[in-house]
């Protein structure tokens, strides 16, 4: 083997690494280094600016003794669970109904899908007015003559988080519908015909055959919607701005205000680490099972 070919083969072996290196470096610094730094800050007594002393888990104790943090965590679970369940359920229902060879299907599909084209800020602002008892639904129904009608969830600290769910579902269920509809179109008609010949009723066919066959579509919907749920704090900001009071606070808004507005950088870092651990608790088992399947296969 001549020297030049050895050179070029070595270059070929190194080239991918060299090309990937800058982006890898950027990711390591901007993501993992700062995760480590945040973890470090969370065990210090940092307040206005970082201080590098060690106080153990004091900031975590402080964090979990803060009622606002409990509200934020509870809200995240209420919102994510309801948002996922309702968007998926409604999306599936709409997709099945639209799949019945109805007229003007294209137009209806577009109508249901369009909310997705709006940003959460627009959705939040519009629903803020729709749900305001003095401007929106309640006012309209009252003016129509039903004067006892009450729809003031947005002013009630116990119910306000559900208004966020309503706005989120309104925006995203059409999107779930579109994916399910594509899944439904991909199902072979002959399977359904065969079931009908066997005497299966339509609900049974849907329950036992079609919905199980939609599993891949279901997975995509859930993954995409979970991601929307986690990043949806702009919806909260526009719709309720964390209010009334602090009733619709989310962990992300808590972290921001603790770190940058309340001189509690340590508590903010601790809350960020808690969020990371929550995500990790979901992601790591998933990665683990994925990797194991690969090794087995």
């Amino acid at each position: 083997m001549s020297a030049s070919t050895r050179m070029s083969s070595r270059l070929a072996a190194w080239l991918p690494r060299i090309v990937v290196a800058p982006s890898l470096l950027v990711v390591i610094v901007t993501v993992y280094l700062f995760i480590l730094w945040t973890g470090l800050i969370s065990v210090t007594s940092s307040k206005f600016v970082p201080t590098y002393d060690f106080v153990g888990l004091e900031q975590y104790v402080r964090l979990w003794a803060t009622p606002r943090w409990h509200t934020a965590v509870a809200n995240l679970f209420i919102f994510s669970a309801l948002f996922l369940a309702l968007s998926t359920g409604l999306g599936l229902l709409m997709a099945i109904l639209l799949d019945q060879n109805i007229r003007a299907e294209g137009a209806l599909r577009a109508i249901y899908l369009y909310p997705m084209a709006l940003s959460f800020i627009v959705t939040g602002t519009a629903w803020k007015w729709i749900m305001n008892p003095g401007l929106g639904i309640q006012r309209v129904v009252n003016d129509l003559g039903w004067t006892d009608f009450r729809f003031d969830w947005i002013t009630d600290p116990q119910m306000a988080i559900y208004t966020v769910v309503v706005a989120g579902v309104w925006q995203s269920s059409g999107f779930a519908m579109a994916i399910f509809l594509a899944g439904l179109r991909g199902i072979d008609n002959s399977v359904i015909k065969a079931a009908q010949i066997e005497g299966a009723t339509l609900p049974l066919i849907y329950r036992q055959i079609i919905i199980p066959m939609l599993r891949p579509a279901m997975l995509s919907v859930i993954v995409l919607l979970s991601y929307i749920a986690i990043k949806s704090f702009d919806l909260v900001l526009a719709l309720t701005n964390g209010g009334p009071g602090t009733a619709t606070e989310l962990p992300s808004t808590f972290m921001f205000s603790a770190t940058f507005r309340r001189n509690q950088m340590g508590v903010g870092a601790a809350s960020a680490v808690m969020m990371l651990m929550t995500v990790a608790a979901i992601i790591i088992p998933y990665l683990y099972s994925e990797l194991r399947e690969k090794n087995n296969g």
Binding site: P50, T51, P67, N132, P244, G245, Q264
Partner: protein, 415 residues
């Protein structure tokens, strides 16, 4: 505080700042609305008349939190602006990090300490150093009222919270919203701050909002404050969620609502509609046995820089800000009153004059105190506990006793 950070910041600032025009100073602030910019231009023009260049760096949004963030990154990058607008404890906290220029020489020659109310000094000095030049003073505890509504209902300006609440109930029966406000914690905080002092006297405000005395925080007087706050909640309509303060002011202006509790920035909304104080609208302090004056100030601090041209510009800017003539011109536009107590307010409107008189009286009686909601009493980590509890109490059904318990444990937790 951290020596490490101070060293890093100090070291990075030694990097020579090249490519700066002679005598140019960059001013970082969060004033972006029209009247704020117009007011700022008074300082700017005066500075430019002295031959210096003003480089404007406005970072608006989040009541100054965005500008604070910008400052942090600028400081860590070793490129601090020449001057920065400070709110609350910010200036003092930066001074503790050793990055703020000491203006003591200027303060001595200019007699700044004598010209300012002694209550302001904790926010513009740090140890022996004079760290910021205050330009204006707002009062937080004003009530803005629609005069026609008051006159039609035969209501006089209330002298106590009991009278105010009774007047509110009368108005409510007539179908008028007594109090216009939004549900944002700071809007609720303005009422809470006022009640702390008005219900139990300025000493109680000192013990709770400033000294964080556990006994006072958990006392029966504190329960009384929350009880009164609950009564005020009864005067607010149910559509208050998500209402901006200026929208609430609009409700008072067009007669939908009778009163608003708001700082004197609300005055601008009335004046912009061509309304006159005491003819079309009332301005009066929140009522108490001892009338309190809960202030907030805007001040400008200078950062330590090596470039002499910038240093000269800093000196000129600080002197300009403390110039009585500039203070007058600035505050005529901004709607506040001069931070200096020795500037005459003869050309100001009636509300500003009333505020000026009540400030002088309040300094004597010890009832001139920093407004907690705007960061001029307890440090932010404690002030935010007050605002959390007051806001949750206001929008929900919590009992006053539970609120007090929550307040005491919250403050302990933040210590």
């Amino acid at each position: 505080m951290s020596k490490f950070i101070a060293t890093v910041l100090a070291a990075t600032m030694l990097v020579p700042v090249a490519a700066r025009a002679e005598g140019e100073i960059e001013v970082l602030h969060h004033w972006v609305s029209q009247s704020e910019v117009d007011a700022l231009n008074v300082i700017r023009k005066e500075l430019e008349a002295k031959g210096f260049t003003w480089k404007d760096s406005a970072v608006g949004g989040m009541s100054g939190a965005n500008a604070q963030q910008a400052l942090r990154s600028r400081l860590t990058a070793g490129n601090p602006p020449g001057a920065m607008q400070f709110l609350g404890w910010e200036g003092v906290q930066w001074a503790e990090q050793g990055v703020v220029r000491d203006l003591n020489d200027l303060a001595k020659t200019g007699g700044w300490r004598e010209a300012l109310a002694p209550q302001l000094l904790p926010f513009v000095t740090s140890g022996d150093a004079f760290i910021a030049a205050p330009i204006n003073m707002h009062r937080q505890n004003w009530v803005w009222a629609n005069k026609k509504i008051f006159d039609d209902a035969g209501i006089a300006v209330p002298k106590s919270w009991a009278e105010l609440i009774a007047a509110g109930k009368t108005l409510q029966e007539k179908g008028i919203v007594p109090v216009a406000m939004g549900d944002e914690p700071w809007q609720i905080g303005i009422i809470f701050d006022a009640l702390l002092s008005d219900v139990n006297g300025p000493e109680f405000y000192q013990k709770t909002a400033i000294d964080l005395d556990p006994a006072a925080l958990g006392s029966a007087e504190m329960v009384k404050v929350f009880d009164t706050l609950r009564e005020v909640r009864g005067l607010v309509d149910n559509n208050f969620v998500g209402r901006d303060w200026a929208v609430a002011t609009g409700m008072v202006i067009n007669g939908e609502a009778a009163m608003q509790f708001m700082g004197d920035w609300a005055k601008g909304e009335f004046l912009a509609k061509g309304l006159k104080p005491n003819q079309d609208f009332y301005c009066f302090a929140t009522p108490g046995q001892v009338t309190s004056f809960q202030y907030l100030i805007d001040s400008f601090g200078m950062f330590t820089v090596q470039d002499e041209n910038v240093q000269n510009a800093q000196t000129a800017l600080a002197e300009t800000i403390m110039d009585p003539k500039v203070q007058k011109g600035f505050n005529l536009i901004k709607g506040s009153i001069p931070a200096r107590s020795d500037v005459s307010v003869d050309d100001f409107d009636d509300c500003a004059k009333l505020g000026y008189q009540e400030r002088a009286a309040a300094i004597e009686k010890g009832s001139m105190q920093g407004a907690m909601t705007h960061g001029f009493a307890a440090k932010p980590e404690f002030a935010s506990v007050f605002s959390d509890v007051a806001a949750q109490f206001f929008v929900g059904n919590m009992s006053s006793e539970d609120a007090v318990k929550m307040l005491v444990s919250g403050i302990d937790n933040a210590r």
